[in-house]
Structure formats: C-alpha cells, structure tokens
Symmetry: C2
Subunit: 272 residues, 2 copies
C-alpha cells in the first residue's frame, strides 16, 4: 500500500488506528484452544471484528516466533487473511549487516506480503537500506520508543542533537516519505512537536497509547500533519477487551470507540 | 554452557573459533539441493567437518527465516544437532519492549536450546534484561559492529563517552561476565584496547575477520584477557571454501588452518 492509498484509507474510515496482533495462547479465550490453529483463529475473528474501524494491523513477530515453525505458519496465514485492504506491519525490529538484512527483507516482503517492517537503527545505513530496495514496501525505523529503556541511549546528546534526532535526519537521506516511517512512542507527547520539525512529512507509527499510558489527544495535536501522518497502535485494550466467548464483539466495540475518538480528533485538528 | 566450561573448551581445542552458519540455498553445493532439507544437510556436514576445530557455532537466523516455517525447522534441527559440546549463538539481533523480548527469549532459550542470542541495545534496559532472566543463558549485546554503518550512530559522543561505550557500561550493570558478552567488530582493532578498559572480563564475540577484512592477530593482541575472552567468528571463508562435492573437506581444512593460527596466537599471548 502506497502513501496516497494509506491517506485515502484514513479519510474513508475516519480512523488512523492500527490494531496490534500480539496473540498469546495464555491470554486468548479458552474455548479457542482446541482449534487446530488457535492463534490464527483468534486473529481471524479479531480482524473480522475490527476491520471497519482501523487502517492497519501490526502482528508482533515475537509472539509467533515463540511457537516456532508452527507460530510462523500462523503469522503467514494471518497476513494473507488481512489482505490488501489494510496496511500491514511486521513488528519485527530487525536490522543486521547488509547481506543479512536483505534476507530479513525477503522473509517479510517476498515470502510474506507485508507492506512494512519495523527496523532497529543501531547498525546504521547498510543495515537499513536493504529493506528500502523493495518497490512499494516501507521501513518503519525505531526513533524514540515508548518504553522506559528509551531513555538509556535514545536521548544521548552530541552538540544540539539527540540520538533519536540523528536517526531521523540520517534515515531521511536514505529513504523518503514514500518508504520510510518512524516509531515514536505516545509516552513522549512533547517530543512530537520537535520531531515534526525534522520529519514534517513522514508517517509516524505510535505505540504506547492505552496500557502504556500515552495520551491520544495530545499525540494527535502535536503530531498530525497535512496527510494525518499518524498510525496509532492499540493492542491489549482491543484484542483482550474480553476473555470470554464475546471477545470479538468486545474488540469490535472497543475499536469502534477508538475510531469515534479519532474521528473527533481529525475534525478538531482540521484534517476532515 | 557456562563461562568456566567455555574457557575449558578453548583450552582443550586451542581454538576460539566460532563458525557462522549463514546457510544460503544459492551458495551451497548443487548436489545437496535435491535432499529433503538441503540447509540442514549442509549444516550437518559442515558441523561434522569442523567441530574439532571450533568452540562455537552461530546460525544467522535471517538465513533461516528467509525460508519461512520450513527454514525455522532447519534451524531447530541444526541447533539440536550441534548438541552440548559447543557454545551455540542465535545471531538474531532481537530487542523489543519487555513482554516482547520475553517472547523472543522463549523462542531461542526454551523452544530451542541455544546458549545465547545476539541482542540490539537501542531500546535500552527493559529490552535486554528479559533475556538475562534465563539461568545459564547469555546475551551477546551489539556494541561496536563490524559494518560500515557502525559509524553512523555507535560513535556518537556525549562528553567523553561514545554510544558503544555507554552501551557496554550500562549493560554491565544489568548483567555480569557470566551472562553478558559484547559484539565488537574485527574491523576496529584499535578499539579493543579501549573496550578492555571498560569490559576487562566480558567475552567478546568478534565478527569481521576474513571476508570483511579484520586482522586476527591484531584483534587477539588487543582483545585477549586471562580467560582468552574472545570468540572470533568466521563464516564465508569456512562454509563456502568449496562449492563442490568436497565442500565439507574444504571447510574442515580451512577451519583447521584457523585453529592452528589461533593456537599460535594463544601461545604468543601467553594464554597457553
């Protein structure tokens, strides 16, 4: 999915919601556990229940890898099931020397039809650019993450520049706003204004709303641009809204609530 | 494998060689391609041919993931085949928020019997510590990598400290020399002296000798400590020493050459 199509989806649905698929056998409803592939069955029902209210899905690859080859198959089925109507994000946080990053890119962009992958920037240019060689695919590069540990290294400062700012500036010389987004955590709402100065036109993927405590309204006010420019991820609040047989219905209701809130924020911030 | 056992292996074999298993269907001998699992068949023969000359194996996870669930099964079989006689490294460069890193740790430490995993430090403490919760398992944290892109962010400097130094110092407050190693590329031999000042007792995993141009003698001289403290990785020079039916024999010969060179360096540097 290219940038124009993504923006159109946001306009159509009045939503910039991304639903995280961190599917965990310990957390999904018990009645699914005797299915042949409980993870895929759960995802399928969550996707059917939420697809009208979100523009993107983000399976967290760790939750599939934790089940080995079987988990990998659940992931393959999940991304195929989502289809072309939604922007798909492999939340994999990969990154290695050039010939190795090429292999990761193959895994997610050729063997699976993901639109994008999250990438860790620590190893620099040649670890990121192999992912940018795939026409129509996106890198979503970690900049300022939502977790407590984001303060350990990402705020390191040389002269007037912090590490996450250097990451954004350098990466924008490797890619462009049609193939490069950044991860910026909702737990740092004040930083969005600064980030928009150095990345006015990139989409930002924003985790940390909900369970991690980020503020949707503040993030939207400080981060929105002419294209909306935001994908806000929510996971646990939606997919685990209920542990009962009504889990899909509860997820649908919760996703719709978030969509309504987003619609209001898009109006307030004059995107709609 | 714990630190004392690893040191004993190095003494017994007079080798600190780690063989990288970046197994690529485009590069392995053609006669293996009609086997049921050509990747595992290749690895098996390489392992049999080199196990007397090395102390560790490092499958590069990207090369398995690139083949999806099937590749994942080849990886599972490979680590099982290596067994307990060698230190096993999942070269995965993972790292995510706490509950996600726990899942990656499960994948490599519980579902597969790897001794260690390479981890990217960008997300800080809570992305690294979940891997340190597994008794007897190791984190090998990226510090100063061997690739050109290592200069983009890892050398960023605040006051008198560069990013890779901050990574090493902070990480040594999260783990200790029994569960934490660092990746330092052989392409930076002069940095080893500085790194030994802040990490005198950690093992260092050193890629970049061979195809990437690092100098084994210089790295050893500057990086060796009382426990040897080095695992030097070589991949392409060994596993792709021949593309013919004699590939295993060629790999064995090459690994033995490196072992001999290492034995001399261990003598010269008074470890033996």
């Amino acid at each position: 999915m290219n940038k124009a199509e993504l923006i159109q989806q946001i306009r159509n649905k009045k939503s910039y919601l991304c639903v995280g698929l961190d599917t965990d056998l310990d957390k999904i409803p018990a009645h699914l556990l005797d299915r042949e592939d409980p993870i895929f069955e759960f995802n399928k029902q969550i996707i059917d229940a939420t697809r009208d209210y979100c523009v993107a899905y983000k399976p967290n690859v760790a939750f599939y890898e934790a089940y080995g080859a079987k988990g990998w198959m659940s992931l393959e089925k999940t991304v195929a099931y989502i289809g072309k109507t939604h922007f798909t994000i492999a939340d994999a946080k990969r990154g290695d020397i050039g010939n190795t990053s090429s292999r990761y890119a193959e895994a997610f962009f050729k063997n699976m039809p993901f639109d994008s992958i999250t990438v860790a920037p620590y190893m620099g240019e040649d670890s990121v650019t192999p992912f940018l060689q795939f026409e129509g695919k996106w890198v979503i590069l970690l900049a300022l993450t939502s977790n407590k540990g984001s303060q350990d290294f990402q705020l390191m400062q040389e002269n007037d520049e912090q590490l996450f700012e250097r990451v954004i500036k350098k990466a924008n010389t490797w890619g462009n706003t049609e193939n490069l987004m950044f991860v910026v955590g909702a737990t740092h709402p004040d930083y969005f204004t600064r980030i928009r100065k150095i990345a006015p036109d990139n989409f930002l993927l924003v985790p940390g709303v909900g369970a991690q405590g980020g503020d949707l309204a503040a993030v939207t006010r400080n981060g929105i641009n002419k294209d909306c420019g935001l994908l806000i991820n929510s996971t646990r609040d939606i997919i685990y809204a209920s542990k009962g047989t009504d889990f899909a219905e509860a997820a649908s209701k919760k996703a719709q609530d978030v969509q309504k809130e987003m619609e209001n924020l898009l109006l307030e911030n004059k995107f709609l």
